[in-house]
Amino acid sequence: MASEERTQEILKGLQQAVIEFDEDKTRELAQAAIDEGVDPFLATLEGLAEGMILVGDLYNKKEYFVSELLLCADALYAGLDLLKPAIVASGRISEAKGSIVLGVVEGDVHDIGKNLIKMMFDVAGWTVYDLGKDVPLEKFVEEQLRTDSDIVGLSALMTTSMISMPEIVQKLKEKNPRVRIMLGGAPITPETVEKYGADGYAKDAGTAVDEAIKLIKMLKTEEKAK
């Protein structure tokens, strides 16, 4: 077991490695955490995820932009790829946060935003089913039914592709009224979400997970009230 001091050193190091998008360092420290008996769940949450929260602050202060976020995400995944199997192997069942089907709608190949959203859910401990980009309508419905995900997240950058969203929302709701649907992307506003009959909106990756949790809580409250 690592001492408290060493544990803190590893956690701070992981945070810093994510902030400085140093993939090698993240990998090295994640491995050190595993080898030295630091709880991999703690290393993920207090190390990698905490680092990403600090990255989010830098983004909000306009010191970092998407270009840096993508590199931070690479560093985070370098660590997560080692820590995730260790969490499973430790037998520790993390508190189930929820599950999400994610994809960029058909006709749209712009997936940078979607990939950042995916990372935020991954690090928050959600189960993510990533359908990629240019995803046909039916695929979202099939995948939601197959996985029974709590949330479906639809992304579009183009006005030409966002117009297919209402049909997807309608089909998803027809098949499973319990599912909650979030929309995102440059042309999407809270008004679009309402107009298209979806449930949630996240203006950026930083707020997406909180919004998803809010939607699930609302659903549970509604169901209890019934």
Binding site: K62, S67, T159, M162, I163, P187
Partner: protein, 337 residues
């Protein structure tokens, strides 16, 4: 003052009777296609259909200048090897595959560049457009800019990461796309366009750190502008507030910005450099999905904020209603009554 004089005078900083109204990015609008009888995807490749749709913007949309070279921003990328997705009446060409995703070791500027892709069709089209309206309307050409083209060749996500971690690879790619941009614009001027627009969505602060814009993009844009025979307008999407100064330092005659940017501030900065500003009625939230009244109000606001050319902030979405589009001219006419 005829429309051509109005637009050219404004671009050159001379007196005008009123602010010109039009669109300085793409306007492949379905309602225009239905009115003029020439639809995409034919209008993406056929010189005559492209010409008729260009003129439809003036005839039905009230635009006071017209666009040459089609309805997407993929021409350079296509000619340099990108595979394009299939267009439809309501969907423009898009980049489907990135030919240099594995690396740019073998990238070169092809000597037959202007015989590739749609450039032969553009040649016929610009000539035709010039014959039809060249005496009375300003014509502009447009392609994607060098940075956006380079990102299309490599893949945007990888390319903006390279911009931080592998600047030498970025420079190597930009060397090629810089030549492509210069060749395309000078080709367009040779056949008679009056100004040329480079659309640079991938270089904006929505993706790229402005410090990297200054370091990597600005010198390339400067070089490109210095080698082009006529006036250049630089369009960047999103909230461009952090790079307005840099956009003005490229040597461009004009900058085109979206509603997410502060137009009033942009005009103040740009005028200090002798640069004109095009913008900035919101395309997605207003022209595409808003009401005619909202478009009218935003157009008036843009005029009040001092826009030099009243335009949409970005390319007009294909499904935008004609009733919304014509509000821009109505607002301009009322504003100058």
């Amino acid at each position: 003052m005829n429309l051509k004089e109005r637009v050219l005078n404004r671009l050159q900083g001379k007196e005008v009777d009123q602010t010109p109204v039009g669109c300085t990015t793409t306007y492949g609008v379905v309602d225009f296609m239905k009115k003029c009888g020439y639809e995409r995807p034919l209008a993406d490749t056929d010189p005559q259909a492209m010409t008729e749709l260009a003129i439809a913007g003036h005839t039905y949309g009230g635009f006071e200048w017209v666009k040459a070279m089609g309805w997407d921003i993929a021409a350079l990328s296509e000619a340099l090897g990108c595979e394009l997705g299939t267009p439809r009446i309501d969907r423009q060409y898009y980049i489907n595959k990135f030919p240099y995703a594995e690396g740019v070791e073998n990238i070169v500027f092809p000597s037959d560049f202007l015989s590739r892709g749609r450039f032969p069709a553009y040649r016929e089209h610009i000539k035709l457009l010039k014959e039809r309206v060249g005496d009375r309307l300003v014509i502009f050409g447009e392609t994607e800019g060098a940075f956006t083209c380079a990102a299309n060749l490599v893949g945007p996500e990888q390319f903006i990461k390279w911009a931080i971690k592998k600047p030498d690879q970025v420079a190597k790619t930009l060397e090629v796309t810089q030549q492509a941009a210069i060749a395309a614009a000078n080709f367009a001027f040779d056949y008679g366009v009056d100004f040329f627009v480079f659309a640079e969505p991938t270089s904006g602060p929505a993706l790229l750190n402005p410090r990297i814009y200054e370091k990597l993009v600005l010198p390339v844009e400067k070089e490109i502008v210095s080698q082009i025979k006529g006036p250049v307008v630089l369009h960047v999407c999103g909230d461009t507030d952090p790079i307005i100064e840099f956009m003005c330092q490229t040597g461009a005659a004009g900058i085109s910005i979206e509603e997410k940017a502060d137009l009033k501030r942009a005009v103040e900065i740009a005028h200090g450099y002798g640069v004109k500003v095009f913008g900035n009625v919101a395309t997605a939230t207003t022209i595409f999905s808003g009401t005619p009244e909202e478009v009218y109000r935003e157009a008036i606001t843009a005029l009040e904020n001092g826009t030099d050319f009243l335009c949409p902030g970005c390319g007009i979405a294909p499904g935008s209603p004609l009733e919304n589009i014509v509000q821009m001219k109505k607002a301009r006419d009322d504003f100058f009554k």
